[in-house]
């Protein structure tokens, strides 16, 4: 498949297909992953190839089937559980936080939970307040979990296998705005790590730290800034827990200015963590306060103009970057 352009959705599909073919312990489970093809059509057709046992439709029982996935992982399987969207994962949080994240520790290292829990996240499709959450920051808060957010077609294709092979529970975020994005895979491709951040565009004037669905917006903002003579470095976190602090600090250490772009709400979110870490650890080298570009403090509304105003957009990112670059002592 390398050489030609494929979509993020296809890349995920391919990665799942490969994992199912390569490892008998792998199975996919979730609401409508079989006949329906998955809400975002990622698993479409896989049940025909691998059967309904390994591409398993579940009832609407988020806590039940996520817990069953954790149990199956304890039992030697490598489940990939699809929770449709992060909005519904609230129903499974007890299983994720109280079981998946604690069992290794509580058992003194005896048990471990090699599960991948995939979910779509984010706004931008006019689905209103109950269907537009971005809660990556919540998951990134919890020791015992690994949290990743592939933002590129290559990462969608090649981080998944690494996540499945990981011995710990991995929470895997797919931003709804990314499914139709396209990219060309490297040839030859192969598994990539799920631990480190990547500079997606180098720059010397400031660092934009972001992940997932906000990456394309940040790259567009960097293009606009470049046209105005400002060279923004764009850092794609990829792993949200653990954070690649070294990469963040190295970049900001060079540029001395930072903007964090996070589609979640501001207060006590992941952008707050990055802003705090940068300020605490680059204190003496920072030339301007870190700026956060986040969603406004409002449940996400339905109409397009309000949804756009409530969530980070290119213009707002550009403005924040300009302000940070322009800033100096009062």
């Amino acid at each position: 498949m390398s050489g030609e352009e494929i979509s993020y959705r296809e890349a995920l599909h391919e990665a799942l297909r490969e994992a199912l073919a390569a490892d008998e312990r792998v199975f996919v489970m979730g609401e409508d992953v079989a006949d329906y093809g998955g809400t975002y059509a990622v698993t479409k057709g896989l049940h025909l190839e691998f059967g309904r046992d390994r591409v398993r439709n579940t009832p609407l029982s988020e806590s039940g089937f996520v817990g069953a996935g954790i149990g199956a992982a304890l039992g030697g399987m490598r489940p990939v559980v699809e929770v449709m969207t992060v909005n519904f994962s609230l129903l499974a949080l007890d299983q994720i936080v109280n079981n998946a994240a604690t069992l290794l520790h509580m058992s003194g290292g005896q048990l471990h939970v090699p599960i991948v829990i995939r979910m779509a996240t984010g706004a931008g499709r006019q689905l209103a307040a109950q269907h537009s959450h971005s809660l990556e920051g919540w998951y990134a808060h919890v020791p015992g979990l690994r949290v990743v957010a592939p933002a590129t077609v290559e990462d969608a294709r090649w981080m998944l296998r690494t996540a499945i092979d990981d011995p710990d529970p991995v929470i895997w975020f797919e931003h709804v705005g990314l499914y139709n994005t396209k990219g060309v895979l490297p040839d030859p491709g192969g598994p990539v790590d799920i631990d480190t951040a990547r500079v997606r565009r180098p720059g010397r004037d400031l660092t934009i730290v972001t992940w997932g669905g906000s990456l394309p917006k940040c790259l567009a903002a960097a293009d606009e800034l470049a046209a105005a003579g400002i060279e923004a470095e764009v850092l794609d976190l990829r792993s949200l827990r653990p954070l690649d602090d070294d990469a963040i600090l190295a970049s900001v250490g060079r540029t001395t200015r930072a903007v964090v772009v996070d589609e979640g709400w501001a207060r006590a979110g992941l952008a707050a963590e990055i802003s705090a870490t940068v300020a605490e650890r680059c204190f003496w080298s920072l030339d301007a306060p870190v700026a956060r570009v986040t969603s406004l403090d409002v449940p996400i509304p339905y109409p397009k103009h309000l949804e756009e105003a409530a969530t980070p957009q290119v213009a707002g990112i550009v403005a924040a970057c300009r302000a940070v670059v322009g800033e100096g002592p009062p």
Binding site: E31, D32, A34, D35, Y36, G37, T39, N57, P59, L60, S61, E62, S63, G64, N87, F88, L91, R125, Q126, L127, A128, A129, Q130, H131, L296, D297, V298, P299, P301, Y302, P303, K304, H305, L306, A309, A310
Partner: protein, 329 residues
């Protein structure tokens, strides 16, 4: 609208039920079109084929009863008295919508009519219904709360908890299960180990029975009996067997059922069924039925025109209604 059992024959309620269903059908068909024109966005879930359920149940309600629905609720809102203009404006996301434009098709609200949504988390509104009924009980009010939900919701823990609480506390809730046999692409048989749904209610010692949800008269009759029990302070579970003629939402390629099955169900289109029955009984003539369609089209077109012309909520007021009391900083 009367909750009594008098005057419930075909002649009494048949024509009204037919008019109700036609109004919903026309509005829904138009919504599908408007979705194609990108006037309506987000998810859109149509009630086409299921109209008899909302029509039959809602005709039994008193004005101060409460209603809660899923995201497939446009028809319920309309029949509950929310003006078509307010519904259509909400679908468009306009400021004049029944939720001020902020909710969209999945979140129609009307506090004055005690219409509590439009809820988009499957099963999430069931505990709310329990609480509304609890408030009535504690305040000594004899009102009913009706909560509509799909059969898919029954696998959720929130269904179980809500059923138990309502039965344990003897609360006036009508659990109206719209069993259209599928939850997105998942058939009832692949979702529930026991597909005889009234047996589920038995686990909570709650009376329950199954009704032909394509027969508006049967629904109306059953809802009347159920609500009589509910008003005495006991919850009831009704399984309303129905079918959606369209895909789950506008995103659904509908790969999981075969055309023959859909066609078989379409032979029992609730509007045709009741229309034929009324014609056979000589209670309406074809011209009368045609007039109902014309009226419904007029209502819908007026609503669409009004929605088109309506203003958007300005971006400046985006952050209103986050908390009712705003803390000045």
């Amino acid at each position: 609208m009367s909750a009594g059992l008098a005057g419930t024959g075909l002649a009494d309620v048949g024509p009204g039920l037919l008019a109700d269903m036609i109004r919903v059908r026309v509005m829904e068909e138009r919504c599908a079109q408007l979705y194609g024109e990108t006037k309506i966005r987000g998810f859109l879930h149509l009630y086409i084929g299921e109209e008899a359920v909302a029509a039959g149940v809602l005709r039994r309600l008193e004005p101060d009863d409460a209603v809660l629905c899923t995201y497939r609720e446009h028809g319920h809102a309309l029949l509950r008295g929310v003006p078509a203009t307010a519904i259509m404006a909400e679908m468009f996301g306009k400021a004049t919508g029944c939720s001020g434009g902020r909710g969209g098709s999945m979140h129609l609200f009307d506090a004055e009519r005690r219409f509590y949504g439009g809820n988009a988390i499957v099963g999430g509104h069931l505990p709310l219904a329990v609480g509304l009924a609890l408030a009535d009980r504690m305040q000594g009010r004899r009102r009913a709360t009706v909560v509509f939900f799909g059969e898919g919701a029954m696998a959720e823990g929130e269904f179980h908890e809500a059923m138990n609480l309502a039965a344990l506390w003897e609360l006036p809730v009508l659990f109206a299960c719209e069993n259209n046999l599928y939850a997105m692409g998942t058939s009832l048989a692949s979702s529930e180990s026991e597909t005889n749904l009234p047996l589920k209610a038995a686990a909570y010692e709650m009376p329950a029975w199954t009704v032909d949800g394509m027969d508006a008269m049967a629904v109306h009759e059953a809802a009347g009996r159920a609500l009589a029990v509910v008003r005495e302070g006991q919850p009831v579970f009704l399984e309303l067997r129905t079918y959606r003629f369209r895909a789950h939402s506008m995103f659904d390629p509908d790969l999981y059922r075969d055309k023959a099955e859909v066609d078989r169900w379409k032979e029992r289109d609730p509007i045709d069924l009741l229309g034929r029955r009324l014609l056979d009984a000589g209670l309406v003539d074809q011209a009368g039925i045609d007039a109902l369609w014309d009226d419904a089209r007029r209502e819908t077109e007026e609503a669409v025109a009004a929605a088109e012309a309506a203003p958007w909520e300005p971006v400046e007021t985006l952050t209103r209604h986050v908390t009712r009391r705003e803390v000045a900083r």
